[in-house]
């Protein structure tokens, strides 16, 4: 088998011809540079637009991912992290009737007004209230600081919040006591956590439910915005969701943790123009790239028309000449993708440090952009091939 494969490869290698497509491109360095710049530009545009889009959607669930839960309860009126409605806490207690449920934790969730301790301006901050004894966070660095929150009025501040919230992290690291107001109540920053901003919230803070009640006196003590349910190891979350739906009345909504994240992403995808705008932006990059590559290949074929006609007169078949144009397209795609990929990596790093959005080069997007560049180049090559039909070997004498 192997030796036969090697023989085939050796046979192909032996029967190879002059790499005409490669030579056509590389012996015209200016034209090649323009083509590659165009393709790389289109690729970078697609990387940026798709990166922003996915990064924004990914950022919208930073907080959702924190929780150690298999199933969550929500109010049916809840639309997203910035529109969390409350429901009675006893619904969460009721779920303990299910044999698979081994733990429950009530969580309060709302946007409150934070006063910048330096500039004294206010800004909305996403606030989570939980029982400090409950192990609700997956991140041990949050759980280890949870006991600090047993002090009334103490909060944990997200050090990756946008700078508009004040130099809280810097002050705290210098050893200063940071105190400020949230919703007009005095609070003290007891520690730092690292979460990151999202669509709905430029900053986050975590506190106890007791402190939360003080900050939100209007919210009744028995109401919560989120109920976390932990299942027995090995239990099927989907089956549990189905059972809990039967068990509970219609004033709560039961979803898995993944469903909770999906709900948030769907909200930003469908209720806002973000997905559309960025996808359109990527589409623009694709179109621009198509036009550039088509122009380059078309003029390349036109310039070499007498040479193609000569090759046809020599006995080269039209399909093998079409293959030359197709290979030019393929080479352009590969050569243009590489700088786009490298520049994309660099720009993502820039975006991460500039906006703190979780924009990373994920393999699926890298593949998607490569596929689009490939379609762009081969499609343009296909259109440029029509020009080859004008090559008439009878005209060259």
């Amino acid at each position: 088998m192997v030796s036969r494969g090697l023989q085939t490869i050796a046979g192909i290698w032996r029967s190879r011809r002059i790499p005409l497509a490669w030579l056509l491109l590389t012996r015209q360095p200016m034209r090649l540079a323009v083509a590659l710049a165009g393709i790389a530009f289109a690729g970078i545009l697609m990387f940026m637009q798709l990166g922003f889009r996915d990064g924004l959607f990914e950022a919208s669930v930073t907080v959702h991912k924190l929780f150690d839960a298999d199933v969550v309860l929500l109010s049916p009126r809840t639309t997203s992290s910035i529109g969390m409605a409350s429901f009675p806490r006893r619904r969460l207690v009721q779920t303990l009737a299910d044999p698979d449920v081994i733990g429950i934790s009530p969580v309060n969730w709302n946007l409150l007004l934070w006063r910048n301790p330096e500039a004294r301006t206010t800004r909305s901050i996403l606030t989570l209230g939980f029982e400090p004894d409950d192990p609700i966070f997956l991140d041990p660095s949050i759980s280890s600081q949870a006991r600090l929150l047993q002090n009334r009025g103490w909060v944990l501040f997200d050090e990756r919040s946008r700078p508009e919230f004040g130099p809280v992290a810097a002050w705290l690291k210098q050893g200063r006591t940071v105190e400020t107001e949230v919703s007009g109540e005095r609070i003290r920053v007891a520690g730092l956590v690292s979460l990151g901003p999202s669509f709905g919230a430029d900053g986050n803070m975590i506190t106890s439910r007791e402190t939360y009640q003080r900050l939100m006196p209007s919210s009744p003590p028995g109401s919560i915005e989120l109920g976390l349910i932990r299942l027995r190891p090995g239990a099927d979350p989907d089956a549990a969701v189905a059972r809990l739906k039967r068990l509970l009345p219609g004033d709560v909504r039961v979803v898995t943790k993944a469903g909770f994240e999906e709900l948030e992403k769907t909200y930003w995808r469908t209720s806002t123009a973000i997905g559309f705008i960025f996808t359109l932006g990527a589409g623009m990059g694709f179109v621009v790239g198509c036009v550039i590559v088509y122009q380059i290949l078309y003029s390349d074929v036109s310039d070499h028309l007498p040479e193609y006609a000569t090759l046809m007169a020599m006995g080269y078949r039209l399909p093998s000449l079409l293959g030359v144009v197709a290979r030019e397209g393929l080479l352009l795609a590969v050569l243009g993708y590489l700088p786009a990929y490298v520049a994309g990596q660099g720009l993502y790093a820039l975006v991460r440090s500039g906006t703190r959005l979780p924009v990373v080069m994920d393999p699926q997007r890298a593949l998607l952009v490569f596929t689009m560049i490939l379609v762009m180049c081969l499609g343009s090559a296909g259109l440029a091939m029509r020009r080859l039909g004008d090559a008439d070997p009878a005209e060259i004498f």
């Binding site: 190879r16 011809r17 090759l311 020599m314 006995g315 009878a394």
Partner: protein
């Protein structure tokens, strides 16, 4: 006229056998006859020169014999295959057995001399890459360009380019060589060199040559001289002048 006897009759090993060939350009009222009842036969190894005033149909005859144009009426047999009614694919296959040398050298600008010649050798499917490359070098040496293998066409003189074109045509091991005024762009000395080379190499290969030329200085290389006037072909008789 399509005559069954012309198709079925064996050609006796001639490289080209043309009978009753007529050709027209245009349609309807604009239809104009360019070839009239042309008869021509060339044997392997024979060098035939074709002269005549411009516009008399020489180039049309070359394109028809070179399987570049569809035959309209009469019979053209190339190596025993009839071209009348032959399809695109069949003509392309036949063209692989014909070498062509053009008035303009028509080299590929982005390829070196060696690579240009190898484009000809690459048509030989049964040879490995190295063998074809070696052949390309061999041919360039044969035309006296062994020192210019890696040069691009624009670094070569007119005569050198034409010699590369000859090497390219011969590298495909043609059985028939068609040349259209190969010396037109050359001065008399390099023109002479090119045709002498062409004749010598064609003889060695047993390759039939049909060359169109206006150049009176090279007529003596021919085994046979033909003259074309107003689409008719005559045996050239220098004595008659």
């Amino acid at each position: 006229m399509r005559s069954p006897t012309a198709i079925d009759k064996p050609t006796g090993g001639a490289a080209i056998a043309v009978r009753d060939l007529s050709h027209w350009y245009g349609r309807g009222d604009a239809r104009r006859q360019v070839l009239q009842d042309v008869e021509l036969s060339i044997d392997p190894g024979e060098v035939v020169l074709l002269t005549g005033p411009s516009g008399c149909g020489k180039t049309t005859l070359l394109t028809l014999v070179g399987a570049l144009r569809q035959v309209q009426a009469g019979s053209v047999q190339l190596f025993g295959s009839e071209l009348l009614g032959a399809g695109r694919r069949e003509r392309q296959q036949l063209r692989r057995r014909i070498g062509m040398i053009f008035q303009g050298h028509n080299l590929l600008r982005c390829l070196t001399a060696e690579q240009n010649v190898q484009m000809g050798a690459d048509l030989l499917a049964d040879l490995g890459y190295r063998a074809r490359r070696d052949q390309a070098r061999e041919w360039l040496r044969a035309v006296g360009l062994g020192d210019h293998l890696g040069k691009l066409p624009h670094d070569l003189s007119g005569g050198q380019k034409q010699r590369v074109a000859i090497a390219r045509a011969l590298a495909a091991r043609p059985e028939l060589l068609l040349a259209d005024e190969p010396t037109a762009a050359l001065d008399s000395r390099s023109g002479r060199e090119v045709v002498d080379l062409l004749r010598r190499l064609a003889r060695e290969q047993g390759c039939a040559v049909l060359m169109v030329t206006h150049d009176p200085r090279i007529l003596d290389v021919a085994d046979r001289l033909l003259r074309m006037e107003d689409g008719r072909l005559f045996d050239h008789d220098p004595e008659a002048r």
